[in-house]
Amino acid sequence: MKYERSSILFGAAMLALAGYAGTASAQTDLERAMSSSSNWASQAGDYANHRYSQLKQINASNVGQLQVAWTMSTGVLRGHEGSPIVIGDTMYVHSPFPNNVYAVNLKDQSFKWKYEPKQDTDVVPVMCCDTVNRGLAFGDGKIFLQQADTTLVALDANTGKVVWTAKNGDPKKGETNTNAPHVFKDKVLTGISGGEFGVRGRVVAYDIKTGKQVWKGYSTGPDNEMLFDPAKTMTWTDGKMAPVGKDSSLKTWQGDQWKIGGGTTWGWYSYDPKLNLVYYGSGNPSTWNPAQRPGDNKWSMTIFARDLDTGVAKWVYQMTPHDEWDYDGVNEVILLDTTVNGKQVPALAHFDRNGFGYTLNRATGELLVAEKYDPKVNWATKVDMKTGRPLVDKKYSPQTTGPDVNVKGICPAALGSKDQQPASYDVKSGLIMVPTNHVCMTYEPFQVEYTAGQPYVGATLTMFPAPESHGGMGNFIAWDPGKGKIVWSKPERFSVWSGALTTAGDIVFYGTLEGYVKAVSTKDGSELWKFKTPSGIIGNVFTYQYDGKQFVGVYSGIGGWAGIGMAAGLTKDTDGLGAVGGYKDLAKFTTLGGSLFVFSLPGSSATKTASR
């Protein structure tokens, strides 16, 4: 093997220089870049999905003075998810479809290069929930763009020239991409979207140098196509880990349904170099009509731990067997060490769409904690810790009531107690800062036929703010992953659809759908600063340091599922039928946008004078 695992684990701490064009060593250029908090070199800032920065020039005592340093338009008026990445003196900015890329010189904000891909517009109609893109990745001197049309592009980080491309799917079958590519060591990993078109989910690993496929692991189907070893791939069974056995997926589907069974892979992946394991979640089983697909529908709604080099699954855990609510399991897996029942464990934390916050042993896959992170969650009373299965309340079970019956008052709604908006791990306190939805729904499933490239949904639903609560549709919470308890909770008018950022300055940043970017105290959630950007925020807050000065940035541009109602004039109350339910109030606060906002403290700065 090329790299010594032990030596790349944490690397040399805090490199003073932010340059990435170093010589080859045990560390990759990405790992070297990530080890300096001046950079924001990957979407989460690290492999572990922490979204945490050691920078503290901006901190709880001075964040109130934060002001706009510079802004930039992406030229696209759609939902802006993800964030730019920063390596050295360059920021790499991306846009929703058509997925433009800008390399911005931090010295004067001029463009070093632009990449504007030509994509067939046929891809737009088959994208679920707006034409978002969750950002770029960096590694091996390249910038990686996962285009909507399923083309993965490697660009020379210095020139923007295409080094290689790889095709990951077929939009004619409803296969598209919204996820960011992920660079782990010497590979680029990417997934697929299209759970509403009967797409069969998989993760593909490409060689970072050549773009050649190294492995592909499906979420459903025969063992060899899922890269499962029936005797060695483990799962939580009757209170302990046990092998999944032969045909663990095939046995849980009727006939060939697994071929159009979903389990797509559009979330934020993480990687533990010491264990050499990659972690990600799979999405909903297709269709949304549960009566049409009997069985547990494995391995949709599942956390996978795969060996980075071979792709073989070491362990799996299915959060929501036989989904009846569209509770995709794609949300990020955060790698952290925590204390559960007095014992220190190498753990992972995961806030599932289904409303449960899970803590598992990331080395073994053992289930340690599964508790509701929104008290309004009602579809299941609890997770049985022995079987690992949720105890479903029949009152809120569309499977039980059957097709063409409208099941009311299900919490959370299909977009989950949290969707893709990534949480942030506060390394100082050991708590996780979680942007959440506080939304419930009605759900009416119905029979659908599959046609390739046509919608394969099979349910009508409406959403509304969680009843008998604060009236808002979101909360921003601090969560103890060892205990499975909410430490504090700050109500929000709308879902918090923006990724959080925690810093060593004892502050956590997030954006709101009205367009505010906020800084709150990690201690109690008290609001320390806010600024209204022109459009709602569904992007992730990031930070970096340039020329001795700390900056905090975020995209402003509403869209995505929560914001999808923005584009048209929804002014009428619809007698409980919902339209986009409470979200239509958004039109009173914001409109479409597409810009990047960068903030800093007042005072002299090289970026302002353009001289050094």
């Binding site: 490239g453 919608p455 949904v457 048209a568």
Partner: protein, 152 residues
């Protein structure tokens, strides 16, 4: 809220579809116990319809049109069909449905058996919604006596 429908006798609705479209808002209230019959659809109590219109609604539902046009057809990322159906002809609708407008996000449905079979009924259903004679949401067969108890 305007209650355009309740103030008009049902017979007037038979006279001219274009007149109806021009004078009625897409109200969410419809008269109980009244039947409206047009060449395109028959609706009773706002949510019980003839078999063809029911097939049109089921096609709307199965093709997940609500994801863009909204659960009440008033528009989301896609345009309001309540507005569009005040003017769109059957021919233009057919063309739009089969070819789509990919650059705007409208997929072509030419490969869907259900659309090929039911597109005229879908036209009728959406016309009924635009006319304000058909309520948003679940529809039931006109001769289904259980409809009232199942209705939202």
């Amino acid at each position: 809220m305007r209650r355009g429908l309740t103030t008009l006798p049902a017979l007037a609705l038979l006279v001219s579809l274009s007149l109806c479209s021009a004078t009625l808002s897409a109200d969410t209230t419809a008269p109980a116990g009244k039947t409206v019959t047009t060449p395109l659809y028959t609706v009773k109590d706002g949510n019980k319809v003839d078999a063809n219109t029911l097939a049109g609604w089921k096609t709307w539902r199965a093709m997940a049109c609500d994801r863009c046009h909204g659960p009440t057809q008033e528009g989301l990322v896609g345009p309001s069909l309540i507005e569009a159906f005040k003017t769109i002809t059957k021919e233009k609708f057919h063309n739009q449905l089969m070819k789509g407008s990919p650059e705007k996000g409208m997929p072509p449905f030419a490969t869907s058996d259900m659309i090929n079979k039911n597109w005229e009924y879908l036209y009728g259903y959406l016309k009924g919604r635009s006319d304000g004679n058909i309520l948003p949401g679940h529809l039931y067969p006109i001769d289904d006596s259980s409809a009232n108890t199942n209705a939202k």
